[in-house]
Point group: C2
Chain length 420, copies 2
């Protein structure tokens, strides 16, 4: 089995699991208990938090540990709680993860456009950054495309907007939140350098355990707790601390950071190999503006295939490499075989022992078309034929020819089936 | 080391940990992913949920998995969200856990009295159950005293109140929430039989992992999500499912349920042995109304020791067994050595290898006196001298004479030190 869906879930890496184990049954004490073994657990917990924070250029006390990215995002968005949702105070990108869009919705939210590669439209951002906006939320890297957003430019625009407000006596604050779920183990992140006020982290996407996340909160950003209770995490997130989870998160993140450059190089090589093989077999393009594959025989029912599709050479299956060729996570290869049914491709690839996905894995995305791919202007046929390959710790370069071969076989068979 | 603070934290039991392990690094898939191994993970997750639900007489679809009891309680309390907090709509017991009291506060909350054993004052409850009340929250068993509340009687009162409202054309709904964190592994709970609408469960108190809990929600109870996102848990709790955590919870709970009667018997025997030994060494009482220990020599500074304390025989250290002698969790032995400093006792007992606590372990309770013991009418001296012994899987009957000996030695030494 070759697993190519690390953007959906990663196995807990060996060192992280080994680090966690003693905290389940030996150092299991409640970190708030008064005896020494419990105090040691508290110290270990705080060291782990400090290590996680260190990886993003912050201090342990800047982090609030949560149950995952979704909770972190919702916690971040409380900075606009209490404001009238009739006027949008929150600005986010149309291509954000469902967790961001769902959490943003009740607050009244304006969407920034993205270009066909998934990059934020900075002109549109500037235009929509009115004086009512309190929070801007832009993910570090998109979860379906792997497109990396220009956070430094975004935060510079925000800095200028703050200055402008100040100059005009406008006291409305302005904060920048970024969901770094997908990027944490592939990019070197420094919150101060990037000018980020709130950063969402997720253990389960970088070799840590599920059910653990964190929110970095810059000093003075007025976040409100989602839950009240025993006052843990500076009162911002009550409940007995998930000690093994945080230990595992810290260990996995340290491991990812240590191999950052090596991994980036390795994944780039793998992705290039895949693209070369697929590009050799199919008519390839790096843009989403090209035509869909030709269909001969009986006409296809999909109205999304425009007449000009038929101008292509017959039986030349087409692959489109999605995302941004320059600003993308090294381990992402989002692609589309327009006109094919990606769900069938997933199924057929699985028969060959290859696991890929059609996009984000969450309950809300079942049987609906990707809002991300729609937002970057892909046609229905391109969306229906899109796959997300995301590499990770389980992959080796030797697997890539096998993957390419399987993809070529499966796609060719599907084309043949359609043309039958 | 003898650990006597299972109410604060339990080690993950061996079978639970073994059951969890494969889900960290082998069956690590995102339960929402489209390929078969992920679907198997989803099935396993749902089976585990069904098993947890089964243990309380419910169905898996009645449960929402959370990150622990605090989140479950906060989720339960959303049934009164949106109502005007100026009029209390929530009724809870003065002796509830800090998580309950803190979560209740913003909603406007009336407190029901408890008697000196921690039992709910049913007359006070009836009096305060006005037609404005929408939610009643009473824990199954108190976390400091182990006192078990008469949930069946409480739900009968609620049933009659509902009938009464109906008869008078009052449409305000009325729900019963119970926090079963401490009771889950010691009582046989059936939500239908007990007439409970919302039940908070906690994995970490019954041999499962930290960071996992659940809320049972009876059909039609209008709970609102605390976080929005990918729509997991029927949209009530978004975020990728904590699969290993839920597998561990289910396994631990099944194990606890299997040994329910045996454990109850075992703990009862241990507690009786301790009480007998301590009662033999000290002047014992089962009530909190008795006098504090005598202090000779220089007068103590604590104003909490009333003059009548001095009527006792000199140098007769006193132990008071707290809680309800009849309705209590078998593994709880809350006790007080009035006039002594329990924090010193904890420290001195730790030197003897015995770990106990002074009460609830959470950030909010540090360096403050127990609100639970204050609510049942204990004097400051009684509160200051109170310890909570809570037995669990790590304890054996053979440890009890050692514990009793250490307690007697430490308490005697403290008395001697005070009298010096």
């Amino acid at each position: 089995m070759i697993y190519l869906d690390h953007a959906a879930a990663t196995p807990v890496n060996r060192s992280a699991l080994a680090a966690m184990l003693p905290y389940f049954d030996k150092q299991f004490f409640n970190p708030s208990a008064p005896y020494l073994p419990a105090k040691h657990v508290r110290e270990d917990y705080q060291s782990a938090k400090a290590a996680i924070a260190h990886a993003i250029g912050a201090k342990g006390t800047d982090l609030v540990i949560t149950a995952g990215a979704t909770e972190s995002i919702n916690l971040a968005f409380t900075v606009v709680a209490g404001l009238d949702p009739a006027t949008p105070h929150l600005l986010t990108l149309a291509t954000e993860h469902t967790a961001v869009l769902s959490a943003a919705k009740p607050y009244g939210c304006e969407l920034i456009k993205a270009d066909h590669t998934g990059l934020i439209d900075l002109a549109d951002f500037r235009a929509k950054l009115t004086d009512d906006i309190v929070l801007v939320s832009v993910s570090l890297a998109n979860n379906e495309l792997g497109t990396i957003q220009p956070l430094a430019e975004i935060s510079e625009i925000i800095r200028l907007a703050r200055q402008d407000r100040l100059a005009h006596g406008i006291t409305t604050p302005l904060y920048l939140h970024s969901d770094a779920s997908q990027a944490l183990n592939l990019l070197d992140i420094n919150v101060s350098r990037l000018g980020i006020d709130l950063l969402t982290l997720n253990a389960a996407k970088c070799g840590g355990p599920k059910g653990v996340g964190a929110l970095y909160i810059a000093h003075g950003v007025p976040v409100h707790p989602l839950s009240l209770g025993g006052g843990q995490e500076r009162g911002l997130r009550s409940g007995t601390e998930n000690v093994p989870g945080v230990i595992g998160f810290a260990t996995a993140l340290a491991d990812a950071k240590k191999h950052l450059n090596g991994n980036r190089k390795k994944y780039t090589e793998m992705v290039e190999l895949l693209k070369k093989e697929l590009g050799g077999a199919f008519s390839a393009s790096a843009r989403s503006s090209l035509v869909a594959p030709v269909v001969t025989g009986r006409p296809r029912s999909s109205s999304a295939v425009a007449p000009h599709d038929l101008t292509k050479v017959e039986n030349a299956p087409q692959v489109i490499f999605l995302g941004n060729p320059k600003h993308h996570l090294a381990n992402f290869l989002p692609l589309s075989f327009p006109g094919l049914d990606a769900e069938r491709l997933v199924y057929k690839l699985e028969e060959q022992g290859i696991l890929v996905s059609t996009g984000a894995a969450c309950a809300a995305n079942k049987a609906t078309k990707s809002h991300v791919l729609a937002a970057i202007g892909l046609s229905d046929a391109e969306i229906a034929g899109s796959l997300r390959i995301s590499l990770g710790s389980t992959n080796t370069i030797d697997q890539m020819p096998i993957v390419a071969r399987a993809l070529i076989d499966v796609v060719s068979a599907e084309i043949a089936r359609q043309n039958h």
